[in-house]
Amino acid sequence: MPTSLKDTFRDALSVSLTVGVYGVAFGAASVAAGFSVLQSCLFSLLTFTGASQFAAVGVVASGGAGASAIAAATMLGTRNALYGIQMAPLLQVRGFRRVMAAQITIDESTGVALSQAPRGSEAMRAGFWLTGAGVFLFWNIFTLLGAVGAKALGNPASWGLDAAVPAAFLGLLWPRLETMFLRLVGAASMVFALLVTPWLPAGLPIIATVAVAVVVGWRPR
């Protein structure tokens, strides 16, 4: 590898490992929600976008309908479309390579690619592919470990797994609350979800909070 790409490789590896380890939490959450070890691993291989995976198993765990689980997961993944729009002109790939690029278009691969901009577009492309492939590898390995581990533990509440899942959502939410405005949107969404909980079937309050995002984002502020 050219020396100029060594720094890119180091960035990609550190992000891949750090993020991949979170797969343990997903594997455990998925098994706690009632999915098998095989199904948990298939989520990480096929869905491969962390927050959406947590949302799908989270809605199932809270007794929600299948359609609610799929809808919540899909809406959480819509940002990946915007990443794809940014990455496509950079990658310039067709056919099977484009399918692979799409599957690994997530927060981390896009983030590292964009962060390499000062090093040139070759480094940006390397950052995208290395990070995407790296997260894919580690995320799937650690999902398997988490799923097998949770299966061995048994009762989720006894080991605190039922609190680990909302804590994982809180951990995913935290870095996004960059401004006071975004913190208020988060707080309003929590209050809204709790208020509608007694009135809607399980799982639907989660989807319903998208209304908060639509209302707040409708007009420029």
Binding site: Q53, I70, A81, G160, L170, V185, T197, A213, V216, W218
Partner: protein
Amino acid sequence: MSPSMMWIVLIGTSALSFSVKMLGHSVPERWLANSRLQRINALIPISLLSALVVAQGLVVKTHVVIDHRLAGLAAALAVLFAKAPFPVVVVVAAVTSALVYHLH
């Protein structure tokens, strides 16, 4: 949820997640350049993740319930303020919740 429905959730989530990613790589840039769409899209993860925190931490079926999970969430919040990394947050929440669950 029935076993077949769980497979439907897995396959449906995977198919739609991939479609959304592929859409981004396939459409002309201007299609999703609408500023209203972008503003709402930026807020959706915050709304959904916030709802998931309370739905998972404070709800059983269709009731708001305060139990051991809230202790875990409070501990998670405390270490997040202390800038703890994600795995620490999850483990601290689990340990705290399990302790309260067994003491109760």
